[in-house]
């Protein structure tokens, strides 16, 4: 695997997986609003 491919792969996977993990944890930890 070339260096540029590694860079693209690691950068993209980090951003996508990090965002997904952060948002899922955010959903799990956010308390329901009043009325929910």
């Amino acid at each position: 695997v070339t260096v540029s491919a590694w860079i693209m792969l690691i950068a993209t996977w980090s951003v996508v997986a990090g965002a997904a993990l952060f948002l899922v944890l955010k959903v799990l930890t956010t308390p329901p609003r009043d009325g929910e």
């Binding site: 695997v1 693209m8 792969l9 996508v16 997986a17 965002a19 997904a20 948002l23 329901p32 609003r33």
Partner: protein, 563 residues
């Protein structure tokens, strides 16, 4: 945690809501995660610039995909508050023109059209799971099995692929059964089971595939070469418009926007549910499955056993369909005892991706039938229907025989002239109150007499129903029926500080028009009762004018001519 809020529609009916937010996010992510995540994305990326494809892809996701997700979630939640869970009813609520509901029909048509072939492909994956577990591919190559399975080896047009038909019928029955269980026990439960298994299978296969080495039997090339094939950035592709078009198309394809299924799922949200967070999370989970898992399974494993040249040829059309169904089952045989299990995991992964999407395609149709034709599903639905039938019998047929027609004529007269209730006006509220009164009042009492007791609710239903208060002239608007004008004598007092109050100068002490500026026609036509109302324009007699909805705005604080 199922919400059992009584519906304003049928008596005894329960308004369906998502049980948990995790279930909601998994269901919407499952709607987006489909066969395209594993079969289409890696081939599209490889054919359109490799790693460079991700730049227009992520830009399209941020600028088009995510905003469209939010818009569709907002439309769905808005329609759901009015009891509409399918796009025709939602669109009818969005504007004043009833023609929008015909645009919303595309939200049903698209789902039905796609589901027609999608369920068939889904049935292939289920059949492959079975044949993987029983070891069919250990002695029969998939390239031989697949044409026989589809019946394409028999040139006769009368030849029916019985096995494929059986699996197809079974898949349809499974989808129907899950949908018939309702939202929480059906769709949400399927997503809670299917999505974690999909992620588990994907992670196991990705790790196993990427760790294949030259010493493993059958491996001709490192799987990292396949990974490089997908991720090697070819920046020249960025200047090609077709790359951007392919990226935008893949975003639309993978998020399932513009189909009506997201509208439907969002319609089961509560009024205060967070649209931005839930929609973004569902989209991010889909991107994780597509970008991370989708690019790490199919092409690296195929490259390891076939070599890069064959994989390039197989994905030249922008799809990894042939690799998935014709090649991979045979390649898994190289994994020894784990081969059949890995093959079953691969097609199980595709099956879970497929069924969570096909359920999302079926749910709008089911919701449309429920909302607009009052059909119910399952045993619980039958019980609700029976209760409703009893209530209707008590209320609508209070008198037997020849008296019934007279009472109905009287009812119609009273409803039309005294209560100003017409066909389609406040129907849901009427049914509920009639049902309630039907349990408490003598059975032989006419319907209009009961309605007289609840005339306040009938006149202004927005005060007594859940959900957002509706404007009076929209209160009677329902799908397929014209809007009903409100009573003309209604008076609406405007608050001085409100936006509309400022617009109509409520509470202002200075007049915008000198007495001399008033037209003679205005002063002559203004009745004593309405002389205290402001003259809002230079047009003849604009004071105390009825609004477009027939509502008269009165100003209680302005008096007399001003300097």
């Amino acid at each position: 945690m199922t919400d059992v809020t009584p519906s304003p529609g049928l008596p005894g009916a329960k308004k369906e809501r998502w049980g948990t937010r995790v279930g909601l996010v998994l269901a919407v992510a499952g709607n987006a995660v489909g066969l395209g995540n594993f079969l289409r994305f890696p081939a599209q990326a490889a054919q359109n610039g490799g790693g460079a494809f991700l730049i227009p892809y992520l830009i399209s996701f941020l600028l088009m995909g995510l905003p469209l997700l939010w818009v569709e979630w907002a439309i769905g939640r808005h329609g759901g508050q009015y009891g509409h869970h399918a796009s025709p009813g939602m669109f009818a609520r969005m504007g004043r023109g009833s023609w929008l509901k015909y645009v919303g029909v595309f939200g049903l048509f698209t789902n039905l059209t796609v589901a027609a072939y999608y369920c068939y492909i889904e049935s292939w994956t289920l059949a492959y799971v079975w044949h993987s577990l029983v070891g069919t591919f250990q002695h029969t190559p998939a390239t031989t099995f697949f044409p026989e399975y589809l019946g394409t080896t028999n040139p006769s047009i009368a030849a029916v692929p019985y096995e494929a038909a059986c699996w197809f019928i079974g898949t349809l029955a499974l989808n129907t059964w899950i949908l018939s269980r309702g939202l929480v026990k059906g769709v949400e439960l399927a997503a809670k089971i299917g999505m974690p298994l999909l992620l588990l299978f994907g992670v196991v296969l990705a790790i196993k595939g990427l760790t294949l080495g030259p010493g493993d039997p059958g491996v001709v090339e490192s799987p990292l070469v396949g990974l490089n094939f997908v991720w090697q950035p070819q920046t020249s592709g960025l200047w090609n418009p077709s790359t951007w078009l392919a990226a935008a198309g893949q975003v639309f394809f993978t998020l399932s926007v513009g189909m009506g299924s997201i509208h439907c799922y969002a319609a089961y949200l509560r009024e205060r549910d967070d649209i931005a967070l839930n929609a973004t999370t569902a989209g991010a989970v889909n991107e994780f499955v597509e970008v991370v898992l989708g690019s790490a399974i199919l092409i690296p494993i195929a490259t390891a056993y076939l070599g890069l040249n064959l994989v390039q040829a197989a994905t030249a059309g922008g799809s990894g369909f042939d690799l998935a169904f014709l090649t991979l089952p045979t390649l898994f045989n190289q994994w020894g005892a784990f081969g059949p299990i890995a093959c079953a995991m691969w097609f199980g992964l595709l099956f879970f991706a497929g069924i969570t999407s096909s359920l999302a395609m079926g749910q709008p149709v089911v919701a449309f039938l429920q909302d607009e034709f009052k059909t119910r599903r399952g045993a619980g639905g039958r019980r609700v229907r029976r209760r409703h039938a009893r209530a209707r019998h008590d209320v609508r047929d209070p008198l037997p025989g020849r008296h019934l027609r007279r009472v109905r004529l009287l009812d119609r007269h009273l409803l039309a002239h005294h209560l100003r209730v017409r066909r389609g006006d406040h129907l849901r509220l009427d049914l509920r109150h009639r049902a309630r009164l039907g349990r408490d009042q003598p059975r032989r009492r006419p319907q209009a007499a009961r309605l007289l007791q609840v005339r306040d609710q009938v006149r202004d239903p927005g005060l007594h129903r859940r959900g957002p208060a509706r404007r009076p002239h929209q209160a009677g608007r329902r799908l397929g029926r014209r809007a009903v004008q409100p009573p003309e004598h209604r008076t609406l007092a405007l608050r001085p500080g409100s936006v509309i109050g400022k617009l109509f100068h409520v509470g202002e002490t200075e007049s915008w028009f000198a007495p001399a500026a008033r037209s003679p026609a205005c002063s002559s036509r203004t009745s004593p009762a309405s002389s205290s109302s402001p003259c809002l324009s230079s047009s003849p007699c604009s004071s105390a004018r009825p609004s477009r909805a027939g509502t008269t705005f009165t100003n209680e604080t302005q008096e007399g001519p001003r300097p």
